[in-house]
């Protein structure tokens, strides 16, 4: 029985005047129904582009999938016709974007925007769709939904807009909900509410969620599985516990180490990862993380590592991730975990 969503060694490149930007350069993961996948990584790591590629929302010039596949319920999304693909979008796979202010059309009423996928995919009449939209707004926690549905986006507050976007994404009861940094543009208190809302919805509808974020706290709370991305590549993937407590990739180590901690008494220095992420046009030879890796060896400069399964559904793209001695060097290991 195939997984709900399978991303198989996806490579998505942008062909620009200045060179080929390898925005996604080898990403693989699976997603099961009802589960949450947290996709983490710094800006520029390819998280959003991966999500947009799944939805086929990347404009064909200049972007192009050069290899790999994305399969939904066993069927390849990338080789589907446009028409079939559109039947999935907003219907079986829905997306929530980062900035709700710019992502909502300023000249359409909120209710109309939420009703739109219903009219498009389920052939609701205008009245049916409107009523359903009001109902959805109520479900996402907007008070006086019937009146608020008649408002325009600029009349909503930031948190309310994001709720409206969630309502819009949920309208057709999708199997997968992709959330691209849904809380980044919001206040901390609102963030918590939105995340709570999403968990509630997941419990109710059994949809799978892909949560893209650079905030570890968000992932720790919600994710069943974690995918760590760097420079367009998947560097580590596995069940959340595995990745947090037994990470095997030096980048994950560095990233976890660099987070400020509240539970340590001494006033220590922050330890960021030295160096800068590489240019996606001029990737270094061998391992992309090699130049910044404190544990790099000669082979890291020569050959590019691929995702290797090290058991328990845990994958990593490092030459030495299977080597226990190597892994023991992890700072986390030394500290005995959390």
């Amino acid at each position: 029985m195939p997984a709900l969503l399978e991303v198989d060694d996806l490579h998505m490149h942008f062909f620009t005047r200045d060179g080929v930007v390898k925005a996604v350069d080898g990403v693989s993961f699976t997603l099961e129904a009802g589960r949450t996948l947290g996709v983490v990584g710094e800006s520029g790591s390819g998280k959003s582009v991966t999500a947009l590629s799944i939805m086929r929302l990347i404009p064909e010039p200049p972007g192009k999938v050069v290899s790999g596949d994305v399969r939904f319920k066993g069927e390849s999304i990338l080789t589907m016709s446009d028409k079939e693909q559109r039947k999935l979008r907003g219907n079986r796979i829905a997306m929530i974007f980062q900035d709700p202010m710019t992502s909502l059309n300023p000249v359409h009423r909120i209710g109309k925007q939420i009703a739109e996928p219903l009219r498009l995919h389920k052939n609701f009449t205008r009245k049916e769709a409107w009523d359903a939209a009001v109902e959805l707004l109520a479900q996402v926690g907007i008070p006086q939904a019937a009146e608020r549905a008649r408002d325009y986006p600029h009349e909503f507050s930031g948190g309310m807009r994001q709720r409206a976007m969630i309502a819009m994404a949920l309208a057709c009861g999708p199997d997968i909900l992709i959330a691209d940094e849904p809380t980044t543009a919001l206040d901390v208190t609102i963030q918590a509410q939105i995340l709570e809302l999403m968990q509630e919805i997941q419990a109710r509808t059994e949809s799978a969620i892909i949560m893209i974020t650079h905030d570890l706290g968000v992932v720790a709370d919600m994710a069943d599985h974690v995918l760590v991305m760097y420079a367009g590549k998947a560097v580590e993937f596995g069940p959340a516990d595995e990745v947090f407590y037994r990470p095997v990739h030096p980048y994950t180590w560095g990233w976890l180490e660099s987070l400020p901690r509240h539970d340590v008494d001494e006033k220590g220095l922050l330890c960021p990862i030295k160096g800068q992420p590489p240019s996606l046009i001029n990737l270094p030879g061998g391992c992309s993380f090699g130049p910044r890796c404190a544990f790099a060896r000669d082979s890291c400069r020569e050959t590019e590592p691929h995702l290797v399964d090290i058991g328990n559904g845990h994958l990593s793209a490092c030459h030495y991730c299977g080597d226990d001695e190597f892994v023991a060097q992890s700072p986390r290991c030394a500290a005995g975990g959390r």
């Binding site: 059309n105 739109e116 498009l120 600029h154």
Partner: protein
């Protein structure tokens, strides 16, 4: 909403007054070359008594602010003075010619709207294609053409050459003639008048639509499963066209102002031609009267456009509420 309208009207008042002041300064005695008395009386020598009488009648001996007051009160009553040349009230001369100008301008705006919008949308949707290049280049050219030269060129091509070559040809002068139904006379002048504005309209439509196409909400619409055509028509156009509609409205004002060149070339009996003739014969009251009428008309149109903008953009109509 009502406060918005109220504010706009209020803002217009000082501008209104400023305009009248400038126009008054321009026609005040001493500013316009030539003795105003001479202009009224003609070039012949006149006895001192007549000179004094003219001065008194026209209040030319009063201080300047009194003259301004006189001028304004005449203006408000619709009295624009008398034409030196034709010895008739300026207001009635211009009122006669006015409808002709208006008809021509309206025709031109219709042409401009249809062609300009179509070209702009086409070139934005098919960006970088052959059509886009074509539209961009031809709008650049149109914007650089002197309107009157274009008019003359059209006259030569469609009026003279076509006739020489035995093809059906178009009238090139005036509003009526024996050989053609009257509407045909509108064709060449209207296209000429519309030409430059069409180019601007196309450019604005194109750039607005392109800007809208890059917006996040267009991506959201695509993520809902709409086809790219649906995304543009349902989500993009309304946003893009708001500023374009505003431009079209403002352009009507500019066009009314720009008819002087087109009417001159095509001998179209409108306000513009009247002003041009008045310049040649130094008939200043007509010149100034014509300018005043046109300016006020333009200001009125601008006000209407401003107000209608509020209706079109819900962000202005409903203001900010929750935050």
């Amino acid at each position: 909403m009502l406060t918005y309208i109220g504010r706009r009207v209020l803002q217009m008042v000082p501008v209104f007054i400023g305009v009248t002041i400038i126009l008054f300064i321009l026609r005040a005695p001493g500013v316009i070359p030539g003795d105003p008395v001479r202009m009224i009386a003609g070039e012949r020598a006149i006895p001192q008594a007549t000179y004094d009488q003219i001065v008194k009648e026209n209040g030319l001996d009063k201080p300047i602010y009194v003259q301004y007051y006189r001028y304004m009160s005449h203006l408000v009553q619709g009295d624009l003075g008398k034409s030196y040349q034709l010895k008739r009230p300026v207001a009635s001369i211009l009122l006669e010619k006015f409808p002709n100008t208006l008809k021509l301008a309206l025709m031109a705006v219709i042409i401009e709207t249809i062609l300009g919008l179509a070209a702009g949308i086409l070139s934005a949707v098919k960006q970088y294609s052959f059509w886009d290049m074509l539209v961009t280049l031809s709008t650049s050219i149109l914007v650089s053409i002197p309107v009157f030269w274009l008019g003359m060129g059209l006259q030569i091509l469609f009026g003279i050459k076509f006739k020489q070559w035995g093809l059906p040809y178009l009238p090139i002068s005036g509003m009526e003639s024996a050989n053609f139904p009257s509407w045909v006379h509108y064709i060449l002048p209207a296209f000429t008048l519309a030409s430059v504005s069409t180019a601007y309209a196309a450019r604005i439509t194109r750039s607005q639509l392109l800007e809208v196409m890059g917006q996040d909400y267009m991506r959201t619409a695509a993520a809902k499963g709409l086809t790219s055509r649906q995304v543009i028509w349902k989500h993009g156009l309304k946003n893009a066209l708001i500023p374009v509609v505003t431009f079209l409205g403002l352009d009507l004002g500019a066009m009314v102002g720009g008819t002087i060149l087109t009417e001159t070339v095509f001998n179209w009996p409108g306000v513009g031609l009247q002003i041009f003739n008045a310049i040649s014969t130094r008939d200043w009251p007509v010149v100034m009267g014509g300018v005043i009428i046109i300016v006020f008309l333009v200001m009125l149109i601008n006000l209407v456009v401003d107000i209608s903008y509020a209706f079109l953009d819900p962000r202005i109509r409903y203001g900010r509420v929750a935050e």
